[in-house]
């Protein structure tokens, strides 16, 4: 389904990695590993199409994502390092905007349910600037509950700033998504209790 061929990434004038290739099938959970600075986030951004590779190609359902951009982005959920929250808006307004901007037609009640499910029932009407780091992260992650129709989830450090409970919940959400035929690609430095152990892609093995 998702296939990466011969990928090379240039950051500034330094070649981070080259000849990187992998394949992610339906139901697959891929953990991108490697030390800091090896290019994990850069790889995720190449896979999402936010950045252009120096060489190589990313294929989604056999077609290049550059040629099929709209179809690919309709099936992709990317949660980056920054949680995409505006400080002046409430978590509910932020979540509703994120869904509407992505083109998902989701009503207010579904957004409220998602925020309650992730444990923010008391913060629904507070401006995002008073939330803690972990709570901000949760607002971003609540989109996962509303994005089951998007098969490919690409998550950059989703476990950062979460407490033990939330980590377990997130791991089971990701496992469920894979069990339902979805695909998850994520970076993390911590062990999470997934239903079955993820495949590991070590970016360091392709470093230059």
């Amino acid at each position: 389904m998702l296939e990466v061929q011969d990928l090379a990434c240039l950051k500034g004038d330094r070649l981070l990695f080259r000849e990187l290739a992998f394949r992610l099938q339906a139901g697959g959970l891929l953990r991108v590993a490697g030390p800091n600075g090896v290019g994990k986030t850069s790889l995720l951004r190449l896979v999402t199409g936010l950045a252009m590779p120096e060489a190589g190609e990313v294929l989604w359902r056999g077609a290049s994502i550059r040629r099929e951009r709209e179809a690919f982005h309709g099936e992709l959920l990317y949660l980056g390092h920054a949680p995409a929250l505006n400080d002046l808006l409430t978590p509910l307004e932020n979540l509703r905007f994120a869904c509407a901007a992505a083109g998902d037609d989701i009503d207010e009640q579904a957004c409220v349910d998602a925020l309650v499910r992730i444990g923010l029932e008391n913060q629904l009407d507070l401006p995002a600037r008073v939330l803690s780091q972990g709570q901000r992260r949760r607002v971003g992650l609540s989109r996962l509950f509303l994005s089951a129709s998007r098969p490919l989830w690409v998550l950059d450090e989703p476990f950062t700033a979460l407490d033990v409970h939330a980590v377990a919940d997130l791991a089971s959400t990701l496992s469920e998504h894979c069990a339902a035929g979805g695909m998850v690609m994520l970076t993390t430095h911590q062990d999470a209790p997934f239903a079955r152990p993820p495949e590991v892609l070590d970016v360091g093995a392709f470093a230059c």
Partner: protein, 222 residues
């Protein structure tokens, strides 16, 4: 279709309302700049009357420039811009929504208070409708051209200064035809030609600037 466009428009207008002190600062800046001129050049009515169209236009242009750097900066910093670039709709569409919301929150108030400031400089009453019309046609062009500059300088150190250097030369034709329209009306030759040129400029900028801006945003976030 257009769900991203309306989502961005609604959110940016809501943000402008929540952060309305920024909007008031822009408006206060416009008023103060206009008020400085009588102090600088003297309160001779004939002289003020002669320079009024140019003064109002330069002040409107500077007020627009002052707030341009805010157009994408916050969304760039908090990751919203990445999410927008991943939406299915072409980036040029929601860029248009952002520029429209920006103009409604910064350009429109300036257009609204311009007649009052024109009276302060004793501009002849006959020139007021043309002044308002020329600003209403011209300030959206400033916002559209400025958006391209704001996208190009996104995330750069000292981007605000660079932005001014980039876009001020591009603002010159708008300034010439905008201020020229009022002068032409008052001198009796009629402002139609100037206003038509401004309208044409606006149509061209609406067609091309969002595409250039979207390309610049992709480069800036790469």
């Amino acid at each position: 279709m257009l769900s991203t466009f309306f989502a961005v428009l609604r959110r940016d207008l809501l943000l402008a309302w929540r952060g309305r002190s920024d909007v008031l600062v822009t408006l206060a800046f416009f008023i103060i700049v206009v008020c400085l001129f009588p102090f600088g050049v003297g309160a001779e009515p004939n002289q003020l009357r002669a320079i009024a169209p140019g003064v109002l236009w330069v002040a409107a242009l500077l007020a627009c420039l002052l707030s341009l750097h805010r157009l994408f900066a916050q969304d760039y910093a908090d990751g919203t811009l990445e999410q927008l670039l991943l939406s299915r709709e072409p980036a040029a569409l929601w860029v248009m929504a952002k520029v429209l919301a920006f103009w409604i929150s910064t350009g429109l108030p300036v257009v609204a208070v311009a007649p009052a400031m024109a009276l302060l400089l004793d501009l002849e009453q006959g020139g007021l409708p043309v002044l308002v019309l020329s600003l209403a046609l011209g300030t959206p062009i400033l916002a559209l051209l400025g958006a391209v500059g704001a996208a190009l300088t996104l995330g750069l150190r000292g981007g605000g200064m660079l932005l001014a250097l980039l876009v001020l030369p591009l603002f010159v034709p708008v300034l010439i035809f905008g201020a020229g329209a009022v002068e032409a009306e008052l001198s009796g030759t009629g402002a139609l030609a100037h206003l038509l040129l401004l309208g044409g400029g606006l149509a061209g900028a609406m067609a091309l600037a969002p595409i250039a801006c979207a390309a610049a945003l992709r480069i800036s976030t790469d």
